[in-house]
């Protein structure tokens, strides 16, 4: 799934949340969106989900301009995106496994495979002993992992993770980052993760887009990508 931002602005009244944002995320890329609180990271993810619409510019997902797309096109795109929301967005009167089953039902996952898929993702995030509990009975870290399990269940083409480590302890933070990195490598799933934890960003050699005051300040390709580009250019030069 290819994602393109072309000169995107987002204003909330007189406040300009994002200014002239342009970047492209290719299928299979792992991108960190970094920046301080209030920089516009979450706004950027909301725009990708078409939760809010850009004031100017266009956002293309697989060449579909999502702010002009039909409801049906938007629904289809959303079904390919696994989201880990900063505030979890779990349904409060459904248990962890019911929350996961809901998204599987939404994406029309084969009914006979739903149960085994739930087992698989719950084991992946190590929530086996919490699967029948409701969100109000879980800790912050467990909620974050339940949200991750739900995102992984649909085998998405893109994972959007909005500060997913914010409520996790050190061990779970690294487990989650490793899990996302493994999924990215193994399934070529595009991962876009917002964070202000520089330690995590530095630990992985991934592309970083730094946003400050609603503007892109830096867009560092990972050395892996840079090396590939250099090799590509050298080949072309010859």
């Amino acid at each position: 799934m290819k994602l393109v931002f072309n000169n995107v602005d987002k204003n909330f009244g007189v406040i300009s949340a994002l200014k002239n944002i342009s970047f492209t995320v290719n299928p299979g890329e792992f991108v960190f969106i970094v920046g301080p609180s209030g920089a516009g990271k979450s706004t950027l993810l909301k725009l990708i989900l078409n939760q809010i619409k850009p004031t100017n510019g266009e956002i293309l997902i697989d060449d579909i301009n999502i702010s002009l797309g039909t409801k049906s096109e938007i629904d289809k795109i959303r079904r390919k995106i696994g989201v880990i929301f900063q505030d979890y967005q779990l349904i409060m009167d459904k248990s962890v496994e019911e929350n996961i089953a809901l998204i599987l039902d939404i994406v029309s996952f084969p009914k006979e495979k739903i149960s085994s898929k739930i087992d698989e993702v719950i084991n992946q995030v190590n929530l086996n002993n919490r699967r029948f509990l409701f969100p109000s009975q879980l800790s912050g870290g467990e909620l974050q992992r339940a949200s991750l399990a739900r995102a992984l269940a649909i085998e998405p083409e893109i994972i959007l993770a909005d500060e997913p480590t914010g409520n996790l302890d050190n061990e779970n933070t690294w487990n989650l980052v490793k899990l996302l990195s493994d999924i990215n490598k193994k399934n070529h799933t595009t991962v876009i993760m917002t964070t202000h934890n520089q330690e995590i960003v530095n630990s992985l050699d991934k592309r970083q887009i730094e946003i400050r005051d609603g503007e892109i300040k830096k867009d560092n390709q990972s050395s892996e990508v840079t090396v590939k580009k250099v090799v590509h250019h050298k080949k072309n030069d010859k």
């Binding site: 995106i81 989201v83 967005q89 009167d93 089953a101």
Partner: protein, 291 residues
Amino acid sequence: MTNNPKTTWHHIRRSPIQSLTALILMTFSFMLVSLFVVVNSGLSKVLVYFETKPEITIFIKDGLAQGDIDNLQKDLANYQNVKEIKFISKDKALEIYKQQNKNNPMLTEMVTANILPASFEITVTDPQALEKIYQNYATKTEIVDEIIYQKDIITSLLDWTNIIRRSGLIITMVVFIISFFSVSTIIGMKITNRKEEVKISRLLGASKFYVKKPFLLEGIIYGVIGSFVGSVITLGFIYFIRNSINSFFQPVIFISNDLIFYTTVVASEILLGLIIGYFSSLIGVRRYIKF
């Protein structure tokens, strides 16, 4: 776990008071509808009974030749919608008079067959025919002594039947409108309570119809259960007390004993309940799910 009937059942269980209110309103509406259907059916029978009774009696002049009487009978038989023509001779009239006044010997002692006129009692299938017969014979004073035409009774009965039918229809409509909008509002309240769930589902890629379906199904459930319970309660109660009601309206059988009639009423009301439940929830859903 997440299919729509289970989601609907989950919604019903999570707000039992609202669900019960919707169900009671629907049940009450259909109790009234059932009552209206049964009363209407009974009234129709009463009306038909009176309409087809020998409602016009032509008293003929004394001393009329048998040939003239026969001609009169043939002439009456030529009218459309005449069901039966009964000739009451002077002797028969005396017999009827004595039977009617058997408890009052003073009234019967002085009366002989000679002072009672012979008559024709005419039964029709269409009350319009009575008016025609009356108009034609009222002027034939050479053969007709008097005509007794219970026009006023039928007109008054028709008026009352129409008033009862219209009032029943209006009351039923009003109750239906109230329950329709109440169910619609209750569904709206439920959507408001579950706004977060609807919003999250939409963000996860659920189509609008996917999030609407459980609420539409909920309205249909209220309609179907309410109509079934309401009609069974009313019809069951009426069936239970039918003998008392029927003895009051004798000889008319006001409350039918026909099981096909009851089955048809229940089935029709369930269908009506389904339609009303669907449309009332549809209005609620359209008003409250806009994202």
